[in-house]
């Protein structure tokens, strides 16, 4: 059943996102071509400026539309009248959440990858690209040398943390919507309120945990290796625990307290 849900989820979201990626691709190529041509003199010199402007907007749009779609799709498909269709399918509530989460995660990764790829294509057309690459390589080398034996651990943790934080923020939106739907007639306001409330609680909690950690390991924080040794593992654990709580909370509320109007 999860497979079928994933298929339909991909179809429902792809029809909106794929055209956007196509626009980004077209503007990327145009940008690259314009940077090669040196024909825009006088009044025409406005053209490269316009293309760069459109390109910048399209990059912002990819991120904004992806995030908005992740939220909108979950709300629209599960909490409005469409919820009558989805929650009466012969599927487990968890499978509904999983299908939404997996496809959201996928699109988040695709958006990030598309923008990075596009930036590489555009910037590789500029004369200062080799210098930029060199500078970045230098930065990583320096980081690696100061981290010493912890360099690999640092990078692995960084990647895992980035991926987990995408899942974490998606699940936090899901649970906020699941809380917000409890309030009859004010589901959206309720969801926003729940999100603000949750962020506040988490903020306070993480500050408190940091203060405790500071008391426990205070003097070692001067050392940069404390990042991969202490700070990253702690924040990974924090994200993991909150993600599981958000997931179980969403599942519980949908199973026991579903409130379709």
């Amino acid at each position: 059943m999860l497979g079928k849900l994933l298929k339909h989820e991909l179809k429902a979201t792809g029809r909106l996102l794929l055209p956007l990626f196509l626009i980004l691709a077209v503007l990327t190529v145009m940008n690259r071509i314009v940077s090669y041509l040196d024909i825009f003199k006088g009044v025409l010199s406005v053209i490269p400026g316009l293309i760069i402007f459109a390109y910048t907007i399209s990059i912002i749009a990819v991120f904004v539309v992806t995030s908005v779609l992740i939220i909108y799709r979950f709300y629209k498909n599960l909490m409005t009248d469409e919820g009558y269709l989805m929650f009466t399918l012969p599927a487990k509530t968890r499978e509904l959440i999983d299908s939404k989460l997996i496809i959201s995660f996928l699109w988040s990764l695709v958006s990030i990858a598309a923008v990075i790829l596009s930036l590489i294509v555009v910037f590789s057309g500029y004369s200062y690209y080799p210098d930029m690459k060199h500078a970045l390589a230098m930065l990583f080398r320096e980081l690696a040398s100061s981290l010493g034996n912890y360099a690999t651990l640092f990078y692995v943790e960084l990647i895992v943390m980035t991926l987990l934080s995408i899942i974490n923020s998606t699940l936090m939106i899901y649970v906020s919507i699941a809380i917000g739907q409890l309030i009859n007639g004010h589901k959206i306001i309720g969801s926003i309120g729940a999100y603000i409330g949750l962020s506040t609680v988490l903020q306070v909690l993480s500050v408190a945990l940091m203060a405790i950690a500071n008391l426990a390991f205070g003097n070692t924080f001067q050392d940069i290796t404390s990042v991969p040794r202490i700070i990253f593992p702690f924040s990974l654990a924090f994200q993991l625990v909150t993600s599981i709580a958000f997931y179980l909370g969403t599942d519980f509320l949908f199973k026991r307290k579903l409130n379709l109007e």
């Binding site: 059943m1 079928k4 029809r15 012969p90 026991r256």
Partner: protein
């Protein structure tokens, strides 16, 4: 195995208000049953409980001996009183959707019914009127070979001509193992297709009898009995 639905002291409360109070109800297979009651009597609540959209506060509800679950959802065909199909889909998309998720879905039957009602499968839902959307939904729901059909106000929004066609479809589509539960207050329109009626009032089942028995005992139609029982 002749019972399809069994409610034992089923109770559902909404923040202080009791929508269903200690309901005991047993429905057999092979019947067309009218779930009749005024607005707010608990009809939709009962249907939502059957479909697992709500969880009871007390008592038990069994469909073919099982509590609501993905397993029971596979054998219950539910028509809510909402237009619940995604607006961006084409009619043909909704058919492939149902075909994917419901093993008992008969694609050919759905297309036949669309043609009969002269509905274009390539149209997008958002371009259809509310009544037409309701027809599409009813076609999808009735194209399943389910054990229990729960139709919540299935004829409210459609014109009388389509209403007759739909009622005929309901009678001719179901088999002897299936039960159709129709909630409505348009009693006179559906009276002729009903085998049994369940009267529900303020969350209580006040009557559950066969239509023939009522007619011979009371000597009046369900419609006039309803008007009498629920007189304001």
């Amino acid at each position: 195995m002749n019972t399809i639905l069994e409610c034992k002291s089923l109770t559902k409360k909404f923040s202080g208000l009791t929508a269903l109070d200690n309901v005991n109800l047993t429905l057999e297979r092979g019947r067309i049953i009218g779930l009749l009651g005024p607005n707010g009597s608990g009809k939709t609540t009962l249907i939502k409980l059957i479909n697992g959209l709500l969880v009871p506060n007390g008592g038990e509800l069994l469909i073919g001996g099982k509590s609501p679950s993905p397993e029971t959802k596979a054998v219950v065909s539910y028509l809510p009183e909402k237009t619940y199909l995604p607006e961006w889909m084409r009619v043909s998309d909704t058919i492939s959707f149902f075909k994917d998720f419901y093993k008992d879905f008969d694609e050919q039957r759905a297309y036949d019914m669309l043609q009969r009602l002269q509905l274009d499968p390539s149209k997008r839902l958002k371009s259809l009127s509310k009544g037409t959307k309701e027809k599409v939904q009813l076609i999808l729901v009735m194209s399943r070979q389910a054990d229990l059909y729960c139709l919540d106000e299935p004829i409210g929004g459609v014109d009388p001509a389509a209403r007759d066609y739909i009622l005929n479809t309901i009678i001719s589509n179901y088999n002897e193992n299936a039960t159709v539960l129709i909630s409505t207050h348009l009693i006179s329109d559906i009276e002729k297709v009903l085998d049994e009626v369940v009267f529900i009032k303020n969350g209580h089942v006040t009557l559950h009898e066969s239509v023939d028995d009522i007619r011979s005992k009371e000597g009046k139609s369900i419609d006039s009995l309803f008007r009498e029982v629920f007189k304001c």
